[in-house]
């Protein structure tokens, strides 16, 4: 039998989950939840590249999600481009901005990098909140229809709105995961993991540390941007919260909670943290406390993240 590489194993698991989960959905509402998980998973995959591979911390990545989201709200109206192209436009803008911002701030380490990225995220939020004439201010703004569902309908494939976004986001997540997995074993990915392990040693084998960190930052910014775009298109509405500090923290928490070292782990984290509030509505007012508690407990007792810890346990039993 052919041995599965970790890359194909991950992709097969993801495809199976996307395809089979709907069989268990008690209601159509769960397509919506699933789509939300996939959209979050895209941003989180970007965090895996930045934090898991390259070891750099960002507390402001939601800023890029904000750019992606508002690109979809504004570009079709003001530039007349179709929403699908607005996604690309947002991604390019995020990438360019990440390049410009990243160059000076990626020299910083640890908490200094944290505060600089945090500042970036807050600046984006402030602009989105205050430029009312353009962005609609804190109340948010409407986002046009992507139009793809109608197109599919014309071709004879009619899906409900929830179903369409479930499968479309799932597909985008798969592509994102495939790219991130390609990167892992590639020369660039290896160099990123190397500088994570030891910057000094990475330099002495010829790795241009500054340049590689910048690449990881730009790539992860594009992921965040696409995630923001899809979120906006799916909700048909967006508020500045998409760029906010809590959203940035959410991304990092999802990734680290699930296991930031692997794409599958991080996606698992995205699923857990997206589902948690749905489950916690039962606890109503205790929701926040439980969320905080989960964050603390997982980080203390399952340091590598949920998925790696669970896998380790399972393997331990086999032996």
């Amino acid at each position: 039998m052919m041995k599965l590489t970790p890359k194909s194993a991950t992709l097969i698991v993801l495809v199976a989950l996307i395809a089979l989960s709907p069989l268990l959905f008690p209601s159509n509402f769960y397509y919506r939840v699933g789509a939300l998980i996939f959209v979050n998973a895209i941003a989180v995959t970007g965090i895996v590249i930045l934090t898991g591979y390259a070891g750099q911390v960002s507390l402001g990545h939601a800023g890029f999600a904000g750019i992606g989201a508002y690109a979809c709200a504004l570009a079709p109206v003001h530039l007349g481009v179709p929403p699908a192209l607005a996604v690309v436009l947002g991604a390019v803008l995020s990438g360019v901005l990440a390049y410009l911002v990243g160059r000076p701030i990626l020299r910083l380490h640890g908490y200094y990098l944290g505060v600089a990225t945090l500042g970036f995220g807050i600046l984006v939020t402030m602009v989105l909140t205050n430029e009312r004439a353009l962005t609609g201010g804190p109340d948010g703004i409407e986002v046009p229809d992507l139009g793809l569902r109608g197109l599919l309908g014309d071709l004879g494939l009619s899906l409900s709105n929830g179903q369409f976004w479930y499968f479309f986001s799932g597909l985008c997540m798969l592509i994102g995961a495939w790219i991130a997995l390609n990167l892992y074993d590639s020369p660039t990915g290896r160099a990123l993991r190397a500088l994570h392990g030891s910057e000094v040693a990475a330099r002495t084998v010829g790795i241009d540390v500054a340049r590689l960190k910048l690449r990881a930052f730009v790539i992860s910014a594009v992921y965040a941007s696409v995630s923001g775009s899809l979120l906006a298109l799916q909700n048909r509405f967006v508020t500045p919260d998409v760029a906010g500090f809590m959203h940035s923290i959410e991304m990092v928490t999802m990734a680290v909670l699930g296991g930031v070292g692997s794409v599958l782990g991080a996606i698992f984290g995205a699923a857990i943290l997206t589902l948690l509030p749905q489950v916690l509505t039962v606890f109503a007012e205790y929701e926040q406390m439980v969320l905080g508690l989960v964050m603390i407990l997982v980080m203390i007792f399952l340091r590598e993240g949920l998925l790696p810890s669970i896998l380790k346990k399972l393997r331990g039993k086999d032996e």
């Binding site: 701030i105 200094y112 807050i122 402030m126 909140t129 205050n130 969320l291 905080g292 980080m299 203390i300």
Partner: protein, 290 residues
Amino acid sequence: MSELLQFLFSGVTVGAVYALVALGFTIIYNASDVVNFAQGEFVMLGGMITFAAHAAGLPLPLAAVSAIVLTAGLGVAMNKLAIEPARGAPVVSLIIITIGASIFIQGAAQIVFGKQIHSFPAFSGDAPIRVAGATILPQSLWVIGGAVAVFIALWLFFTRTLLGRAVLATSNNRLAAQLVGINTNFVMTLSFALSAGIGALAGVLATPITLTAYNVGIAFALKGFAGAMLGGMGNPKGALVGGFSIGLIEALTAGYLSSTYKDAAAFVVILAVLFFMPQGLFGRKSTDRV
């Protein structure tokens, strides 16, 4: 001219609160290398507990003291339950733990104190004091005085007392401190108590001006963190200067440029400073040892 003075007054008042929060960050960072994002919740608790105790009939000074003591106790508990068990975890994990603690405390406060905005009377009345055409509230003087007093007390503690020196020694080299017989666990406990107490004090002093609600903590935490980083993490003098600077930048931006972008100004300045001084204004330059 009086306009400028007015902006300076409000900047120094807010800056004093940020400086106290930044000092709290610094103390914990020095003892444990942890940046405690729950620092802002201590400020919120200081105000909230004082309000609740005062509303329950306690005289204001007693309510304030009980708030500070209770919050300090909570800081110690947080260290024991969430920080100590995670020793040696990577920076990202520690950020998530302290933010988790912050969310937890917020959630608890929401249940205990409700979602309303609370306040209690100013210590020396509400009659504004006129100075050269500008006015300042007596409570502002309490806030500024509080920050300066805390700074002086900390400075005396760290330079003049054996215990303070033990804390400094621990922050320099934990292992070496243990070897010369310093109880580093006690130092950690003390640092969290001090830091939480100072945060609560900031809340007690500022609440009559800023009011308080269960969710005000995170904003204080971000500004205090920014102040501490601006000054150079780990340096108390830097925290003081950084905190006051952020307050002043905010007030001047709000006054002369745009009140909606006052929060942005502070971060623009931080990005600019870190661009030229990656270790902040007073931070030590570290050399990799290989």
